[in-house]
Amino acid sequence: MDVKRSPQGYLYWLFCQFELITCSYLMEPWEKVLFYSFNLAIAGLLLYTAYVCLVFHLSSAFQLLWGFLGNPRENALSVVK
């Protein structure tokens, strides 16, 4: 827990901060394994969901936005209907 100049040292220091904040610094090794595997599982699920769904959500949001900005007259007609 010494040098934080080098990138490896900095990452290790960041990991130590994570350990301190989530109190895994105080846990016994088997508790740490349990905690980290749970965290990695949740993080993995989040990443997978982001990868699968984010593209679709972004493109549909972009289309909606384009619809609002692109044709003002069409937009007014559709609102009247």
Partner: protein, 518 residues
Amino acid sequence: INHIVHNGGLYKRPFNEAFEETPMLVAVLTYVGYGVLTLFGYLRDFMRQWKIEKCQNATEREEQKDFVPLYQDFENFYNRNLYMRIRDSWNRPICSVPGAKVDMMERVSHDYNWTFTYTGRVIKDIINMGSYNYLGFAQKAGPCQEAAAKVLSQYGAGVCSTRQEMGNLDKHEELEKLVARFLGVESAMAYGMGFATNSMNIPALVGKGCLILSDELNHASLVLGARLSGATIRIFKHNNMQSLEKLLKDAIVHGQPRTRRPWKKILILVEGIYSMEGSIVRLPEVIALKKKYKSYLYLDEAHSIGALGPSGRGVVEYFGLSPEDVDVMMGTFTKSFGAAGGYIGGKKELIDYLRTYSHSAAYATSMSPPVVEQIITSVKCIMGEDGTTIGRARVQQLAENTRYFRRRLKEMGFIIYGNEDSPVVPLMLYMPAKIGAFGREMLKRNIGVVVVGFPATPIIESRARFCLSAAHTKEMLDTALKEINEVGDLLQLKYSRRRLVPLLDRPFDETTYEETED
């Protein structure tokens, strides 16, 4: 810019006290940490109950499992699951005099702090930032020690009686006269234990039908004494004079709760320096309020006697007030005088009454003679009556050390609570893992500190408490500061946003204070 208060000219010097607010992110992350530990605590309790894991803490016997559970409340849960993990920072055995440097026995734990074994090695010369050694009288050589050794060979160590029976030595009389002269009061009485002084004498002074107004953050001995007395207790916010005045007004106007009779006595309990916050009581305002509403004041100078004031006579001298304004001046000999015990000083009638009616005088063994001699020698040294200026120099050295240490810590960016002049310096840690980490890292660097968590402090406001001493040289303080800086960078403890929060001196109104119902 510090918010300097001059309440109608009551203060002759600026009163700089600051309690920086907890940063929001830090508070959230602290709760996250406690949440994770609580979940793991439930898991471990489950495993212990279903015998998956060996149960090493105290539990009820098999036959008692159907009775009312003994260990299910939050305190026991906290003890089993959170305190046990960081337990190695407390109860560390020392094996030398607790002066500026101390020797400590090294111990390791192979089962995660449930049991400890001593390796046999002694860690030498640890800079001691945790002992209440304000004037450096915890010495094993010097005039105090020689005088105490002489008295030990003359009187022995035990007294074998209470004050009222056969335990009243001439040494005790000499001590009490000296203490009364030191404080500037008519008469004083000394007791063997500081905690017992408070808890056994407050019941002798007040009883049912009296009102006690006690500060939020008073010490356990004051709280215990107040509860044992049977008087009605009302709490005012810490060091908040508007809150105290409101309570006093209500007490005078409404009287006792059911019968509306006037209170027999109103006693205000305050401390000189609050050891967990490092704050100093606003004594000029308390005395002004006491005189206006005709109540009595009980001042507990456990940490401030010897440590404040230009000649070490405590918080009364620090503010330039007269000791006759304080009705009961209580203090301890443990902190600044290097001994053990407590005293109460006041008018002669009061002390004569306490000699007869105090529980501590009637039932507790009186002070041991070498301890009495240590106090006599150290008080004479502080007053300058032993012919040297050592006492005066020590008081000044403590004040210098305090100012220097606090200034340097604030510059580094830590959150420090309390008054600029108090030798008790709390450094905020907040997160539970950092409590254990700070204690261990400082010990690795040969500095002994006291870290405090729940239940001595609110659950998110855990802190490390440094007690400065006149025995600390500037080199020792510089070494300590360098290590604290390093550990602060390592553990990311520099939370301060350098924004000084002004003291809460706004006018007090109904919307800001909830009254407790009787």
